[in-house]
Point group: C2
Chain length 157, copies 2
């Protein structure tokens, strides 16, 4: 009926399923360890890598591949948990920064071993080094927007 299940047509479908299965298991492990969910890790890590450990809200939304309103609420939660604080922008008084706190750094460090173990067991150990390189290269191609140079490797985890 469609080419969903020809040998190449299945790739997309398998990609979606693999994502769902792996993320579900990672979330399960984080919750079992009484740690926050994956999106908090991503957010903390994005901030930790950022210049001055801070990001403007809209930059943040872009890194996290989500909407501004979602970021507003995510930062609300991170701020309530003491992991991040907001600072008004000097240059543009409409703007705000999300700034990583010391507690935020600690929390990311605390999450990383669980997350790392999951990535290792669920992803890296199931593949050869060559396959991992292939995945990286292919994902980069998929992210690249026509004409725009690759947006970097961050934002995901």
């Amino acid at each position: 009926m469609t080419d969903h299940d020809t040998s190449t047509g299945a790739a997309w479908s398998l990609f979606l399923t693999a994502h769902a299965v792996l993320v579900e298991e990672i979330e399960r492990r984080l919750a079992a360890a009484d740690l926050p969910a994956l999106d908090w890790y991503d957010a903390l890590w994005a901030l930790e890598r950022a210049e001055g450990q801070r990001l403007r809200m809209h930059e943040f939304a872009h890194w996290m591949v989500t909407s501004r309103s979602n970021i507003t609420r995510l930062i609300d939660r991170l701020e309530a948990a003491g992991l991040v604080r907001r600072e008004r922008s000097e240059e543009d008084r409409r703007g705000a920064y999300a700034v990583l706190s010391a507690e935020g750094r600690r929390m990311r460090k605390r999450m990383w071993p669980v997350y790392e173990k999951a990535i290792s067991e669920l992803f890296e150990q199931k593949l050869s080094a060559a396959e991992i390189r292939q995945i990286g290269a292919v994902m980069r191609k998929l992210i690249a927007r026509p004409g725009i140079p690759a947006a970097g490797d961050g934002g995901g985890g």
Copy 2:
């Protein structure tokens, strides 16, 4: 600090970002065409492939990689839209089937061209045939649970 951004360590992160970017764009296109979201497509397609175009709720949840309560509500919505109907199970009176309706088949057919175009442009055309095969093979490995044979190619869309 971590191996997030070594050449192999980035693969997982890129995988997450690629998924987010592509799914976001596909959802955007479906919404722009006044069509339901991706999860409805997945659900309709899972049913269309299933024996008798029906699935027990818990099987459905497994295919869709989500919880039973989510499936209950998803089927509620699909049923309200006339795309699916519920049938009580004969053999096990606790059980229920979700059964694809003619309208459900029509809707999936109506969604497919938009979805197919998106997959083609955002995924297949950015990669070589060899790369697509590699992705398929790698995703299969990631999905496979130790000891359990690959759960098949479905579930994703």
